[in-house]
């Protein structure tokens, strides 16, 4: 179903008018209330009145993750403390955490876009949603929770972990929608099978999966294991949380909620704005958020935009699957490598488990890549020869994807670390100092 037909199926020209009206308002708010933006505008002599068309947005300086870190914890807040209703923060695994403060209205926007995602996932008011995103500072759990409440569906607030219980609830409560990270969805599917059950024993119809990068191969596996349609959701704490964009049942790109977020794609090196269909870094501007207005945030996520009406009837612009991050792009022996390429190679070997970790080292002068893969029951054999064969097959398949020789190691299941349900994919131990 389409949750908000007026906004999701709006005539694109009309939507541009709405976006411009909202952009002008948020620019004024940012300039007046956030010292960071005031300073940034003044530095280049930019005035609020200079923003007269959507193209004028390009005059506004970018906001980076480092800017937000420097503003830790509350420097970017545009409203008095009494208006803040909820606070979330990124995990801080790659540095100082970034904090987002929400007003009551901001929470309602978040609930609205999350409800739209549930609509895209064939949600109905009578449905139950098994929400296994972590509840806490991480935006995953609460984002879906707010949306489910607004939508009118029942939320089962499982949070992450305790797989045995998750499966029990999945069979007994008969939820129709599963929300978690794709790697956890895969894990649940495998665990279900291990317990001797299959898609016929559960009642899920769709899943909304995000918070980490995944591939089409992984989608197919999850869909088979759980008997569902697996949809990709995108969002980030700095902007609002999950739901900035979400796939409809067509599974052909994620519809960006354009009435709330204005997307641009830039070349991360030259910073010029790119055309439709060109891969580059996604830049997002929050058009309606008031607690912490964010202008032209460089997401570091690499994607491209597709305009035009979707088969589902929505007219919102779609963004393609994230294929990498400008900051997790690795240069190995001079070759650009993204973890998603390695994942694709790994999954092409049908027996390989999707749980993996990439270790890059430089023992002497040459880079070495080691892929640690958690072994699955299907992969295991009592013969060393067979295990070596599997390692060789995986290594060959990955080498084909990235044009570099890699070494594959099999490790015990569950031995690779996860943070907040997100898999830690890359460990770069090279010392460039």
């Amino acid at each position: 179903m389409i949750w908000n037909e007026e906004m999701e199926c709006m005539d694109p020209e009309k939507r541009k008018e709405l976006q411009l009206e909202r952009l002008k308002k948020v620019v004024k708010l940012a300039y007046d209330k956030v010292p960071f933006y005031h300073r940034k505008f003044d530095e280049i002599g930019l005035k609020v009145e200079d923003i007269q068309s959507l193209e004028d947005i390009q005059k506004i300086p970018f906001t980076t993750k480092d800017d937000l870190r420097a503003a830790y914890p509350f420097e970017m807040v545009a409203v008095p403390p009494e208006e803040i209703e909820e606070i979330h923060a990124s995990s801080g695994t790659t540095g100082t955490a970034t904090v987002t403060c929400y007003t009551k209205e901001d929470i309602d926007i978040w609930a609205e876009i999350s409800a739209r995602a549930i609509g895209m996932a064939e949600g109905e008011k009578r449905d139950k949603i098994q929400n296994c995103y972590g509840y806490g500072l991480f935006t995953g759990g609460f984002g879906i929770d707010h949306g489910a409440r607004k939508f009118g569906a029942a939320v089962i607030p499982m949070s992450s972990g305790n797989t045995k219980r998750q499966l029990e609830i999945m069979r007994d409560f008969k939820p129709a929608i599963l929300t978690c990270t794709p790697s956890y969805a895969m894990y649940l599917g495998e665990a279900l099978e291990e317990e001797g059950y299959g898609p016929g024993d559960i009642h899920l119809k769709t899943g909304i999966f995000g918070a980490e990068m995944w591939t089409e191969e992984m989608r197919k596996r999850i869909e088979n294991k759980l008997g569902i349609k697996a949809l990709n959701i995108y969002g980030l704490t700095e902007i609002i949380g999950p739901g900035v964009s979400n796939e409809c049942l067509e599974r052909n790109g994620m519809h960006i909620q354009e009435d709330h977020f204005y997307p641009e794609i830039i070349n991360p090196n030259t910073l010029e704005v790119l055309e439709d269909g060109q891969d580059g870094e996604l830049v997002l501007t929050c058009l309606t958020k008031t607690g912490m207005p964010i202008l032209r945030f460089r997401t570091r996520d690499i994607t491209s935009l597709v305009h035009g009406k979707c088969k589902c009837g929505r007219t919102t612009v779609r963004m393609t699957r994230i294929t990498g991050r400008t900051d997790d792009m690795m240069k190995i022996r001079g070759v650009m490598v993204f973890p998603s390429q390695i994942e694709r190679g790994l999954l092409k070997v049908s027996k390989a488990s999707p749980n993996y970790q990439i270790h890059v080292t430089r023992p002497d002068t040459l880079d070495e890549v080691e892929i640690k893969v958690e072994i699955t029951p299907e992969m295991f054999s009592d013969e060393m020869k067979a295990l070596d064969e599997i390692r060789y097959k995986i290594a060959k398949s990955i080498s084909k994807e990235i044009a570099l020789r890699v070494n594959v190691t099999l490790v015990e299941p569950g031995s690779l670390p996860r943070s907040e349900g997100k898999a830690v994919r890359v460990i770069d131990e090279r010392n460039f100092k």
């Binding site: 072994i375 699955t376 054999s381 013969e383 060393m384 015990e412 031995s415």
Partner: protein, 143 residues
């Protein structure tokens, strides 16, 4: 005349083997025979135990990846050339060995050999025709 061996994936990290062995012995399961195939980063622990179902359950609960498969367990006279005679028989029919390990039987003078071959059925038939002393589950329990 079927003996099933349990193989366990063991990472070459501190305490990994001990964890598996402890889990089994805590449940008072007797390990009759054991061998380890070791690679650079991981190994395969192969076990002949008295209670396969229980062993599998315990290991799974402890997060181990395992596999159960049929092996040939055979008693050979504990004397020079005991093993050679067996190998000659298999070689004569071009049956390839995947791996072999042996242990001594406390109750008789026999040595006990565990072998894994490519062609299990053919090997079994051949050994029977040579009146080899093939062990079954009961024999394992009584060792």
């Amino acid at each position: 005349m079927v003996v099933k061996q349990i193989s366990v994936f063991i990472e070459n990290t501190e305490g990994s083997l001990k964890k598996a062995i402890n889990a089994i012995s805590n449940e008072k399961i007797n390990i009759r025979a054991l061998s380890i195939a070791d690679g650079a980063e991981f190994g395969i622990l192969r076990l002949i135990v008295t209670d396969n179902e229980k062993t599998k359950k315990i290991l799974k609960n402890n997060g181990f990846i395992l596999r159960e498969n049929e092996v040939i367990v055979i008693g050979i006279p504990d004397e020079p050339n005991g093993l050679n005679t067996l190998l000659d028989i298999l070689e004569g029919e071009k049956i390839n060995l995947e791996y072999v390990y042996a242990f001594a039987n406390n109750k008789t003078d026999e040595a006990v050999v565990v072998i894994k071959v490519e062609d299990y059925k053919k090997a079994k038939k051949l050994l029977k025709s040579h009146n080899a002393n093939l062990f079954d589950e009961n024999d394992i329990a009584n060792l």
